[in-house]
């Protein structure tokens, strides 16, 4: 099997597992009111976003964003 396919599968499975864990932790953290709890919530949400980004990469949807016009 092509090494890229193996890496994409590992990335996808890992991203799903970690992303769901982050979301689960975010839900559990949600009622807490401390300053560090609020920061943790932001961090967990961004972590889940990172996992979504990796899922898109695994499916080949990313990279597909055009950069700014050159020249």
């Amino acid at each position: 099997m092509d090494i890229d396919v193996i890496l994409r599968v590992i990335a996808f499975v890992g991203a799903v597992v970690v992303g769901l864990s982050a979301l689960q932790s975010l839900v559990a953290e949600w009622p807490k009111k401390g300053l560090d709890d609020h920061v943790t919530k932001i961090m967990l949400a961004l972590l889940a976003l990172g996992c979504v980004s990796v899922i898109f990469v695994a499916f080949g949807i990313f990279p597909g964003i055009a950069g700014p016009t050159k020249g």
């Binding site: 932790s25 961004l46 990172g50 996992c51 990796v54």
Partner: protein, 198 residues
């Protein structure tokens, strides 16, 4: 040398803890500014060239970076679980998740070293192009933070084993968790910029 335990009442401790937390958050904000400066530099440099990476320069491998990212993100999840288990007094699971976090952090650094080796072998070096310079600067700065984080987590784990922290007083652990989450989140931005942005 004799050591003296400093005992303070809960109200004083809470006040000191809040001040420490605020100070630590200011430190994290200052680190965000450092990374933002480098990221701005990267975006500026990238937008001034016709092709990215420049012709003849080997870019970093996307899927390998994806797997490495998940290793780091996974360490963020294990760090969170370690904190939760500590708060609930389950020391065995706390130690297990802390060790998992440290191993995943070392795994990420190893993956980055492997990536550097491949890039250097392919001729993408720091002075070879603006791509190489900005890539190694940004990932190197982040890798240094991960390295410091791993040392910090090992220190905190040893301290926890020695009984420095209790279920009521564990600011060192909180700071470690926040720092580790910060390192994760910075990588979300760097991964998007360096690998995903086409």
């Amino acid at each position: 040398m004799a050591t003296h335990a400093i005992t303070v009442d809960d109200a004083t401790y809470q006040e000191v803890r809040d001040q420490r937390l605020l100070g630590f958050l200011f430190f994290l904000i200052s680190d965000v500014i450092v990374f933002s400066s480098f990221i701005y530099g990267y975006i500026y440099l990238r937008s001034t060239v016709m092709a990215w990476p420049p012709p003849g320069i080997e870019p970093a491998a996307l899927y390998m970076a994806g797997v490495n990212s998940i290793v780091l993100f996974g360490s963020g999840a294990t760090m969170h679980y370690a904190m939760e288990f500590f708060k609930h007094g389950d020391k065995r699971k706390f130690v297990g998740f802390m060790i998992a976090t440290i191993i995943l952090g070392i795994g990420f650094l190893s993956g980055q070293a492997f990536e550097y080796f491949n890039l250097l072998h392919a001729g993408t070096t720091w002075p070879s192009s603006i791509y190489g310079a900005s890539f190694f600067t940004l990932t190197g700065l982040h890798g240094f933070h991960v390295f410091i984080g791993v040392i910090y987590l090992i220190t905190v784990l040893i301290q926890a084993q020695k009984g420095v922290y209790t279920q009521q007083r564990y600011f060192g652990l909180t700071a470690g968790a926040l720092y580790w989450h910060f390192v994760d989140v910075i990588w979300v931005a760097l991964f998007s910029l360096l690998y995903v942005w086409k």
